[in-house]
Symmetry: C3
Subunit: 348 residues, 3 copies
C-alpha cells in the first residue's frame, strides 16, 4: 500500500474539529506514539506523566486536551475530546483494506445461499443453504456460515470465523479470527446416571456495529435467543453463555466469562478476566473491575471490584492462611469485646 | 425445515412417561419458555419464583414436578423428573440435522484414511493418512484430522475442529467449532538459559458420549495419555493440560483451566472459570464453585468454594488493603488477648 | 512410523552426557513414565515421593539426579540435569514428523507471495500477497497468512492458525492449532454515546524459538508493535493485549490474560490463569503464581502470589462474608486497642 497523503493541521481541524495552536500549515501523514512518532507524524498527549516523552518526541504535531495548550511549543491541535479526534485522524490515514467483490474459486457456496454481488468471499469459505451475505461484506478465508445465517451489509469477518445455523449479524459487524458464534449452550439434565443433552434451539442475534474479538465464543440460546445489542464491543477469548443479553454499547475486555441467562445493561464496562455468574441482572452503566467475580445481581450503577491482590509469596502464604480462619478471628474479636466490656463495667 | 408434527399430551406420556392433568388431547409441536412460548407449545415450570411468568404464559401446556399439580389450570404433565421429560420432548421436536453421506469435493482425504460410507465429510476438511471416520459420523467444514486419528460412530464434529495425530474419539462424541484436541502439552526443561521442548508423545483418548465445547483445548500427554472418560461434558474455552484424567460423567463449565497431570473423579461438577492446579487428585462427586481456585487435592466428596466477592469499589479498596495486612491484624488480636489476660489476672 | 532404533546407555552418555551406573550395554528405544514404561524403555526419577513407582517400574533403565545413584539396582544414568537429558533423549527417539516439500493442490497461494521450495504448505492453506514462508517451514492445513506476513525458516504452524497481515515470525517458531496472531487490539474511544474504533496499525513481531499454544491470541499493536522476544513459551488459551512486550525466555502457562501495553521481563514465569493488568512493568526473573492478579508493576525479582484459596462451601460462606466486612473488623480491633490502653493507663 502506498503511504497516506499528507494533510495540514488547518485541514484536519476543518474536517474533524479542534483548534490549531502554532503553524497550521504543518503537514502530517500518519499517527504515532510520542515515543516512536517520526517527523511528519502527529501524536497524542493525554497524561502529565508522559510529559517527558512529549519533550523528547520527534512528532511534528500533537493533539492535546483543552487544558494542555501550553505543554509544548510544537504545533498543537487542541480538542475537547482529543482521543476521538485521534481516532478519526487515524481512521483517515488508515482506511480498512479494500477487497475486490466476488467469490474465491476455492470457496463453497450453496446454490441456495444468497451472496450480494458487492460482497467478497475469501478462499476456502463455506456458506450453507439459506445463508445471506450483505452488500460489501468481507468474509475472510476459512470462515464457515451455517444454514440460514444472515450477515448484514458492510460486515467484516476475518479468517476462520464460525457462525452456526440461523444466527444473525447486523450491519457493520466486525468478527475476528477464530470466533465462534452460535455453538450449543451448556444445557444438560441428569438422567439415571448420565447427562442428557437439552437441544439448543435458540439463536444468536447480533446488532449493528458490534465488534467481536479473536477466539471469542457466544452460545446460541436454549429456547429463546442470545442477544448482543448494537454497538457492543467484545475483546478476545470472551465466553458468553446461552440466553445472555448484552446491552447496547457495553464494552467487555478479554477473557471475561459470562454464564447463561445473565442480562447486562447498556453502557457497562467489564474489565479483563471478570467472571459473571448465570441468571443475574446487571443494570446500565455498571463498571466491573478486572478479575472481579460477580455472583449477585447489581441493581445500582457504579464501579464494583473484587480482586485478591498479589503479594510477595511469603506474605501471601500467611495472609491466605488467615483468610481461611477469618471466622475464628472475628470470634476472637467478639470475645475480646465482651471481656473488655466486663472489665470496664467492673472498674466503673 | 418443516415445523415438527403436533403430538398430544396423552401421546407424550405414553412415549416418555409422566401423568396428564387436564385435557390430554391438547396437542403441542414445540417447547418454549414460559415467557415466550406460543400457543401450541409446551413449557416447563420448576421454581415458584417463576409463578408470575407461568400465570402470564401463552403456552398450551406445562410440564411440572410432583408437587406442582395445582399451580395452573391449563393442561399439565406431572413428572418425577420434569427437566428430563422436557429434554426428551425437545429432542423429539428438534432432532439433529441430517447430513447426506459422502465426501465433499473440496475435502482432502488421504488415500490411506478410512471413511465409513455412511459418514458425511464437509467442505475443506482434511483427513490425514491412517485416520478412521466411523459410521454416520458428521465431520464439519474446515475440520482437520491428523495421522492415525480415530473418530467413532455417530460423532458430530462442528466446523474447524482440530484433532492432532493419533488421538481417538469414542462413539457419539460431539465437538464444537474451534476445539483443539491433542496439541502439545506444555513441557519444558531449562537448559543453559533457554527452554528445551519435551516431545509430547502421549495421545488424547476420549470416551463415548463426551461433548466438547467451542474453542476448548485438550492437550496430548507428555508420555502417557490424557484421558476424558465416557459421558464427560465440557463447555466452551476450557483448557485441559497434558496427562489429566477426567472421570466419567463429570461436567465442567466454561473457561475452566486444569493444569497438567491432575486427576478428577466421576460425577464431579466444576463451575465456570474454576482454576485447578496440576498434579492434584479430586475424588468422585466433588462440586467446585465458579471461579474457585483449587491448589490442593480434594479427597472428600462435597462442595468447595473460593471467591473473593465483588463489592462497590470504595469498599473493595479498603478491604483489599486489609487483606494484605491480615497477618498484622491477627498479631494485634493476639497481642490484645494477652494484654487483656494480664489485666484479668491482676484484677482477680 | 517404524519404532525408534535401540541405543545403549553407554552410547546415550557418549552423545548426551551423564554417567552410567550398572550395565551400560542395556539398550532402550523409547522413554516412558515410571508407571507405564515397558521393558526396553528408559524412565526418569526426580522426586522421592515417586520411590514406590520406581520400585514397581518395568523400565529397563532410569535417569536420575546426582544424589540418587543408590535409589535402585537397575541400570541408571546419573546426570547433573536429568530432566534435560530426558528431553534430549526423548527428542532423539521422537523426531518431529517429516513433511514433503511443496504446496498442496488445494492451497491458495497468491502469486505475489514467496514460499521457499523446501517449505511444506498443507491442504486449504491461504497465503496472501507479499507473504514470505521460509525454508523448511511447515504450514499446517487451514492456516491463514495475511498480506506481508513473514514466517521464518523451520517454523511449524499446526492446523487452522491465523496470522494477520504484516506480522512476522522468526525462525523455528512453533504455533499450535487455532492460535490467532495479530488480530486488532481492543482500542476504543467513546464518542457521543457510541464507541469509535481506533485503527490498530502496529504489528506482532515474534522472535526465534518461540512456541505458541493452541487457541492463544496475541493482538497487534495500536500504533507501535506487540513484541514477543526470542525463546518465549506460551501455553494454550493465553490472551496478550496490544503493545505488550514479553521478554526473552519467559514462560507463560495456560489461560493467562495480559492486558495492553504491559511489559514483562526476561526469564519470568507466569502460572496458569494469572491476570495481569495493562500498562504495568514486570522486571526480569519474576515468578507469578497461578491464578494471581497483578494490578501494580513488580520492580523486584521474586515470587508473587495471590489466590483466595478454596474451602468447603460452608466455611467459604462465612469467610467470604467476613472479607466484605474486614474494614469494620479492623476498626473494632483499633477500638479495642484504645479501650484497653485506657484501662492499662488507669490501672498503672
Amino acid at each position: 500500500m502506498s503511504p497516506p497523503a499528507p494533510i495540514t493541521l488547518d485541514e484536519i481541524v476543518r474536517r474533524f474539529g479542534g483548534t490549531v495552536l502554532g503553524d497550521g500549515s504543518t503537514a502530517v501523514n500518519q499517527v504515532g506514539t510520542l515515543e516512536n512518532a517520526q517527523p511528519g507524524q502527529i501524536s497524542f498527549f493525554a497524561q502529565q506523566r508522559y510529559r517527558k516523552l512529549l519533550d523528547q518526541s520527534r512528532a511534528s504535531a500533537v493533539i492535546v486536551g483543552p487544558g494542555d495548550g501550553e505543554v509544548t511549543r510544537r504545533p498543537l491541535i487542541v480538542s475537547d475530546n482529543p482521543y476521538v479526534l485521534f481516532a478519526l485522524l487515524s481512521a483517515h490515514f488508515n482506511p480498512p483494506e479494500a477487497f475486490a467483490p466476488g467469490i474465491h474459486p476455492t470457496a463453497s457456496v450453496d446454490p441456495d445461499a444468497e451472496v450480494a454481488p458487492s460482497a467478497h468471499v475469501g478462499a476456502h469459505v463455506s456458506i450453507a443453504a439459506g445463508a445471506h451475505v450483505g452488500e460489501r461484506a468481507v468474509i475472510g478465508p476459512g470462515t464457515r456460515l451455517g444454514r440460514g445465517v444472515r450477515i448484514g451489509d458492510d460486515c467484516r469477518l476475518f479468517a476462520n470465523v464460525i457462525v452456526y445455523h440461523a444466527c444473525s449479524l447486523g450491519d457493520r459487524v466486525i468478527v475476528h479470527g477464530g470466533a465462534v458464534i452460535g455453538a450449543d449452550g451448556f444445557g444438560l439434565a441428569m438422567d439415571a446416571g448420565a447427562w442428557r443433552k437439552i437441544p439448543q434451539i435458540g439463536r444468536v442475534l447480533i446488532g449493528n456495529d458490534v465488534e467481536i474479538g479473536a477466539n471469542t465464543t457466544i452460545d446460541r440460546g436454549a429456547l429463546d435467543d442470545t442477544v448482543i445489542e448494537e454497538g457492543v464491543k467484545l475483546d478476545n477469548q470472551i465466553q458468553i453463555g446461552h440466553n445472555c443479553r448484552i446491552g447496547a454499547h457495553t464494552a467487555i475486555a478479554g477473557c471475561v466469562g459470562i454464564a447463561g441467562s445473565t442480562r447486562i445493561g447498556r453502557y457497562c464496562r467489564l474489565g479483563g478476566s471478570a467472571m459473571i455468574s448465570g441468571h443475574l441482572h446487571i443494570v446500565d452503566n455498571v463498571e466491573i473491575g478486572g478479575g472481579t467475580a460477580v455472583i449477585k445481581s447489581i441493581l445500582r450503577p457504579g464501579t464494583y471490584s473484587g480482586l485478591f491482590p498479589a503479594s510477595p509469596h511469603q506474605d501471601w502464604l500467611k495472609n491466605a492462611a488467615h483468610i481461611r480462619h477469618l471466622d475464628a478471628l472475628a470470634n476472637r474479636v467478639r470475645e475480646l469485646e465482651s471481656r473488655l466490656a466486663e472489665i470496664e463495667r467492673k472498674s466503673t
